[in-house]
Symmetry: C2
Subunit: 95 residues, 2 copies
């Protein structure tokens, strides 16, 4: 029912779940910079720490805990954790 | 730097991290009821879904997303996810 995912040599790890047909995961991003492609659109909410993200055609923006950003389907984003690991909730949005 | 933990045959899974000497994890609890013992005191914050928790000498209480509860050190609590898996942030509190 739950699935563990690991990316970038274990520097990003998440646990995925489905509730009410909503696909989501919570995870942690270690310090560093990473690129994620998106198939479905998704909303990333920072639950602990601080992320910086660069969306397509945008500049780097800072997202402290409690804030979120959305990424279009068939797109991608660059992300980095600053000041230590940051935890997030990723929700996949229905098209 | 990040560590994956699995409990109760994979029905509870988390990713642990440390930031500014704060030890924490994000995880997911599948539907069901579980008991966790605590060594350090901890704060559990629900980040998606709904948890019910029973603290020592207390009754079952409901914690929707955005709410939290704290558990004393050298203690424990019963917890259950209702309506599907629930995601949480667990922060270990310094004594």
């Amino acid at each position: 029912m739950l699935n563990h995912n690991t990316y970038f040599d274990g520097n990003v790890q998440s646990v995925g779940f489905v509730r009410n047909s909503l696909k989501a995961s919570v995870g942690v991003i270690a310090p560093g910079e990473y690129h994620f492609g998106t198939a479905a659109a998704e909303r990333m909410t920072v639950v602990s720490g601080t992320l910086q993200a660069k969306l397509p055609e945008g500049d780097w923006q800072q997202y402290p805990a409690g804030t979120s950003f959305e990424v279009a389907a068939n797109s991608g984003f660059d992300v980095r954790a600053v000041g230590g690991p940051a935890a997030y909730l990723c929700e996949y949005l229905c098209g």
